[in-house]
Subunit: 420 residues, 2 copies
């Protein structure tokens, strides 16, 4: 098969060769090691004995492989607290001088970054506000962040993983309406350090985080939907997002679930986007289109929740009207979700951003519209719709996850070992 989405190396696609040297065995050899590291990440604090059971390793193999990984500065072992009889085992943890991933979450107003070790824990969290909105200024600041981490950690830093509030194609930004950006190249961020740069959409990465270790943990197929201005999201299968050609998928807000008479800024018609955010609330309230639909929506929903703020500019909006509008919008959201559930049959649906508040503001209406939109055979056991566990931190944790996937791939482990 041709090159495509899930870029990583040790992948599905019984396709053509990797194109590299005859180094087939060189990477294949790391298969078990990669599995071990994945397990350590999935269950931080796992003991060696437990690991061996999970992976069906004999004790001999476990001894060998942990020794190897310790030697390679990938894992460290510390005595585990005794539990009952038997010889004490050890807890597996990332090695203190093992590989690191720099995860960066670029947001509309600011950025955040953190260094992640192999267990997925984030250290050294930093943040900063954008000085200006221009791509050059923002990327300059991020470039400094990358350079700083590279200076401090040298070869321990193995990848940079970036979450952006934008449509991403082949590692480049196609458009970021929230930032007011058109196409932006990102390669400069790691040009000097030559680190692998992984770029993903923020909603997609938040979905990855939820599916791996968040509210949808354990789900084979999970659907994450993030509402802010419009709807973004991702379908995550086996922990990997389905992002399509070039990674531009996940634009769920541009399915025609809405009024065909409305033209969306994206260029299409009837987009779901227009039915579920602040713009929709304003329409239903007879107000003009808000300049900042996100803040506007939060204010309206706060009003519904009885937390009216003075000077929110909504003094003339009665609570009943706000509640009605929220109900309609929550219904549109739920109906669309039901359609997506019909099509994709996720085990769980997770909600992020405004969607959480929208549902809370009109939960009965939401639940009714959800049930009403499901095919009847799905109603016996409909996929639960859960609030995101990571809140606003999903994108950063998702970036960590994707970065570590890369670093613990067979090829990357082989490279790490080669470098001693």
């Amino acid at each position: 098969m041709a090159s495509d989405g899930p870029r990583r190396s040790g992948d599905a696609a019984p396709g053509t060769g990797t194109g590299d040297r005859p180094e087939r065995a060189r990477t294949a050899r790391w298969r078990t090691a990669a599995d071990v590291l994945a397990r350590v990440r999935g269950e931080p604090g796992i003991t060696r004995a437990e690991l061996a059971r999970r992976l069906n390793l004999t004790t001999g193999s476990a001894t060998e492989i942990t020794a190897r990984l310790r030697e390679l500065r990938l894992l460290s072992e510390t005595p585990a607290p005794a539990r009952g009889r038997g010889r004490p085992t050890t807890v597996l943890a990332p090695h203190p001088s093992g590989p690191l991933v720099l995860a960066v979450d670029l947001r509309q107003e600011d950025w955040r970054c953190g260094l992640a070790s192999l267990d997925g824990r984030i250290h050294d969290l930093r943040q900063g506000r954008h000085a200006g909105r221009e791509p050059g200024a923002v990327l300059g600041a991020l470039g400094e962040v990358v350079a700083g981490a590279w200076r401090r950690h040298g070869d321990r830093l193995r990848a940079v993983s970036l979450a952006v509030p934008a449509t991403v194609r082949d590692g480049r930004i196609v458009q970021a309406s929230g930032l007011g950006w058109g196409p932006v190249e990102l390669g400069a961020l790691t040009a000097r350090s030559r680190l692998p740069l992984l770029v993903g959409n923020d909603a997609t990465l938040a979905g990855v985080a939820e599916a791996r270790t968040g509210a949808a943990a354990g789900a084979g197929t999970a659907l994450h939907l993030l509402v802010e201005v419009g709807v973004g999201g991702a379908l995550i299968v086996g922990g990997r997002p389905v992002t399509g050609a070039g990674g531009t998928g996940g634009e769920y807000g541009h399915m025609p679930f809405g009024d065909r008479a409305l033209r969306c800024p994206c260029g299409a018609r009837g987009c779901w986007d227009l039915e579920v955010d602040g713009r929709a609330l304003a329409r239903h309230l007879g107000a003009p289109a808000p300049r900042d639909p996100r803040t506007y929506a939060r204010r309206v929903l706060a009003r519904v929740a009885g937390r009216e703020a003075a000077g929110d500019g909504l003094d003339d909006v009665p609570i009943e009207a706000a509640a009605r509008a929220a109900g309609v919008v929550a219904g549109s959201l739920a109906a669309g979700i039901a359609g997506l559930v019909n099509a994709h049959a996720p085990d769980v649906v997770t909600l992020g951003g405004l969607a959480v508040h929208l549902r809370a503001a009109a939960s009965a209406r939401f639940g009714a519209a959800y049930a009403d939109g499901l095919m009847s055979f799905r109603r016996d056991l409909p996929p639960p719709v859960l609030d995101a566990a990571y809140g606003d931190d999903g994108a950063l944790h998702g970036a960590v996850a994707v970065g570590l996937d890369h670093v613990t791939s067979e090829a990357a482990l082989a490279a790490w070992a080669d470098a001693l």
Copy 2:
């Protein structure tokens, strides 16, 4: 456990160990063999030298592995036609006494089946009409087919792969509206032979066939849509369909792209289903709902194409009206497809069944609605929409593909070798 980490060749369940013995190495050992067989299937008639290049094998490894696979009755080698200088190589083909898969396509009026060898070629194609519509009668006949193949081929038969025009959950039919069936167990088909039984939706499997070796061959992400009564389909990523929990996904026809006022027999509202098939054509023509929407639609579209058949019961329908109705319906189909393309960003879209004729009957309207529904950044290079290459044979070929995936899995190869 949170599905996570780099997922290897295996399958879904990224979770705990396989649950089997410590037979980790026993199956892992077959990784390269599985890759070789996958390649032989992907490129029937491939030579040994070409294979080695594709998989980055040294000539020594190629010698060893082909010898092993020949010994195991998985592959056979025949001299390849010489091409230029150099020592002649051999063509790899399935072994004459290698494993076989029985693929069965259960359709509304009849069934078809064939035996497939490792290269995916179908031998010994048979078919039969259903004597009665009752599940018992139909499954009885299919049981005979399975038993017959098992008698004839014994242990060479390694799996039965079944395509059904139904919603499938965990290998069972949930409902098959075309057949008028409710839930149906299928395990009895292979209870005696104890063969693995793989069950899939027909539209999903047709999509698999198109994505592997049909019109979408080479696509990393492909979307297949089949219109008959309503719309079925599948998103295929890396050759594997995204079928969700229990395999019930792919019900694209039940996304609310349509008129929210219309209640669908499925229980939901506004289903796309209702906008794109014979029922929609009848509505737009002011005719009562047809009893057999599929035949009705074919007749209307034949009329549009100028192939009016006497006695088709449409004598009072002017061609212009039929063309108008077809245009509206083709537009609805295209608009929905555009929405799905926005959400999933496939490399290619393939059409099956009525969808092909619908588009042909109103190609301008279809093309316009498709473009109009795309996000503007997708319009530069929109995914091509192609007619299915396999026509009505997609489901059977897809069943073959899935069956062979199973048979050439590492675990199945280990089992085949153990049985000598």
